[in-house]
């Protein structure tokens, strides 16, 4: 798995639960406590070992942990900004998800994302299909979509489902402008 993915998990654990937990997870998973380099590629097994060890030590279901990681990612300002480039409102953002793997490739060619396909199933109802060799992306995206709804100020119901290579996230957009979303300027303020 790409270092960016691994390091996201590392930082999530460190920022949310503290250095002590990260160190103990790293030890259990056989990872250097200094963690991962963002631009190197690591063995997939390492990522699973890290997530399993964290879920075990926190006594949390794996899916819940992955969803929290998705929410954490949107809390990182540079990442939130890159996601907000996807659309002017939440519905527009959802429609841009199909392009997300290509956008990611523009930035980091080595970073393979799961294939994403958004299907409109009814008025305000969508299903996001994550096609990946690896389980767990569905839960991460459920977290991302939940956090991005808050960012846009939209009221949504989100439910992760599906299994084995075709995980799905069900999205029901109840109200596009439920609350005031967070501000997004196309160009970052100078010096930021």
């Amino acid at each position: 798995m790409h270092g960016l993915v691994n390091r996201s998990v590392q930082w999530f654990l460190r920022d949310t639960y503290g250095v002590a937990l990260w160190t103990s997870v790293a030890e259990a998973a056989g990872i250097d406590p200094n963690g991962f380099e963002a631009l190197l590629v690591y063995d997939d097994g390492l990522t699973d070992a890290m997530i399993d060890a964290a879920a075990r030590q926190l006594g949390k279901p794996r899916e819940a942990l992955l969803e929290d990681i998705g929410i954490y990612l949107v809390g990182l300002e540079p990442l939130r900004r890159l996601l907000r480039f996807g659309g002017v409102d939440y519905a527009d953002f959802l429609q841009s998800l199909d392009e997300l793997p290509d956008r990611v490739h523009l930035a980091v060619p080595e970073l393979d994302m799961p294939g994403l396909e958004l299907k409109t199933t009814g008025p305000g109802r969508y299903t996001l299909i994550c096609a990946a060799d690896h389980d767990g992306f569905g839960a991460v995206f459920a977290g991302i979509l939940r956090a991005m709804a808050d960012d846009y100020g939209a009221l949504v119901l989100i439910e992760a489902g599906g299994k084995g290579g075709a995980e799905t996230v069900g999205i029901e957009l109840l109200e596009a402008q439920f609350a005031t979303g967070r501000r997004f300027d196309l160009a970052r303020p100078e010096g930021a």
Binding site: E37, A38, L39, P78, R81, L82, F85, G87, V88, R103, L106, A107, V108, D185, L186, A187, R188, P189, E190
Partner: protein, 349 residues
């Protein structure tokens, strides 16, 4: 029948034209603006552009300056570089297309490579760009590139720090922290290069401890290690920052003293080293008594100084010091078969 075999003009509403090209201008043959796209209107900060003269607001710089509408029409089809005459003088690209029936020209504009700056200056949003426009993607890429470059720079910094630490380990004697043989060879190479480029030369001193074996044999290796550490600090104190002090064997040390060094300086340094070595260090209440013999040579003694030759001459001079009863220093003298030697500590030993 599909298509348009007769070349009829397409009639389009000005508002729709603005949707297709949010930064267009329709300029009458007189040079007055007849209509303007919504994003371009935003750029001019609420000034009503319609009725103003195109060339009063915009300056066409390339491919050549245009001062009249006739000159503007001559630039039709070419890529124009132009800018707002008023601050912030936003740079723009443009294309002029003539209209039929003397209706003037359409000028379509876009931001060049400085899109991010323009978007910031004019507080533009996604809605200010046509859905087909890739400017927003350009902004996305600019931002993502900065983030990735930042990561790369941090990675390079970490790798460089690790590399320095590894190099230091590879060039240092673990016990004393002095330079090791490899570091000495490198330093010798550097001072020889400097001489070849007209530098001031250097001195090479070879020190061998006297009575070190006795300390090791009677008091043990721990005492020996203590003595070696002590010797290292004596040598560090006796030399300058730019000098190289290396431990090259069990109890052998080599010093390189670059710069204009003469025999008098070698005498002073050797005296100091030998007398300080003779101050015993205490190991478990017992004094460890040692001394040292030194052989030295100067690069100025050679037409073309060479590492092996100088090391071997310093070694020969050291041998003379040993033979003369230890605690001596000897400077290799060129042309003389037996190097001259001098008492290091003249007062009655």
């Amino acid at each position: 029948m599909d298509g348009n075999p007769h070349g009829d003009p397409a009639l389009i509403d000005v508002a729709d034209l603005g949707r297709l090209m949010p930064m267009f201008l329709w300029v009458a043959p007189t040079g007055h603006i007849r209509a303007v796209g919504p994003t371009l209107a935003k750029l001019c900060d609420g000034v009503v552009l319609v009725g103003l003269r195109f060339l009063d607001l915009f300056q066409i710089r390339k491919p050549q300056r245009a001062r009249t509408m006739d000159e503007v029409r001559l630039l039709a089809g070419q890529r124009l570089h132009l800018g707002l005459r008023e601050p912030p003088h936003t740079a723009l690209r443009g294309l002029v297309v003539p209209l039929q029936d003397g209706q003037g020209v359409i000028v379509n504009l876009s931001f060049g490579i400085a899109a991010a700056e323009a978007v910031r200056d004019h507080a533009l949003t996604d809605a200010d760009f046509a859905p087909t426009d890739l400017t927003v993607e350009l902004l996305y890429l600019t931002e993502v590139k900065a983030a990735v470059m930042g990561e790369l720079a941090a990675l390079n910094m970490r790798l460089r720090t690790a590399q320095r630490a590894a190099e230091e380990q590879a060039l240092t004697d673990a016990l004393t922290g002095l330079a090791n043989r490899r570091a000495l060879d490198a330093a010798l190479g550097r001072v020889l290069d400097a001489v070849a480029w007209g530098g001031k030369g250097f001195a090479l001193l070879h020190l061998d401890l006297d009575f070190f074996k006795a300390v090791n044999d009677t008091l043990g290796h721990a005492a020996g290690d203590l003595v070696l550490t002590h010797v290292a600090s004596v040598l560090r104190r006796a030399t300058r920052k730019q000098d190289t002090v290396a431990r090259v064997g069990g109890d052998e040390f080599v010093m390189i003293l670059p710069g204009p060094v003469d025999e008098a300086m070698i005498t002073t340094i050797s005296h100091r080293i030998i007398s300080e070595l003779e101050v015993p260090v205490t190991f478990k209440g017992k004094p460890c008594r040692i001394s040292g013999s030194i052989g030295a040579t100067l690069s100025t003694h050679y037409d073309r100084p060479d590492a092996d030759r100088m090391l071997s001459d310093a070694d020969a001079a050291l041998y003379v010091s040993k033979r003369r009863g230890r605690a001596q220093y000897t400077i290799h003298a060129p042309g003389r078969h037996l190097p001259e030697d001098k008492r290091a500590v003249p007062d009655g030993r």
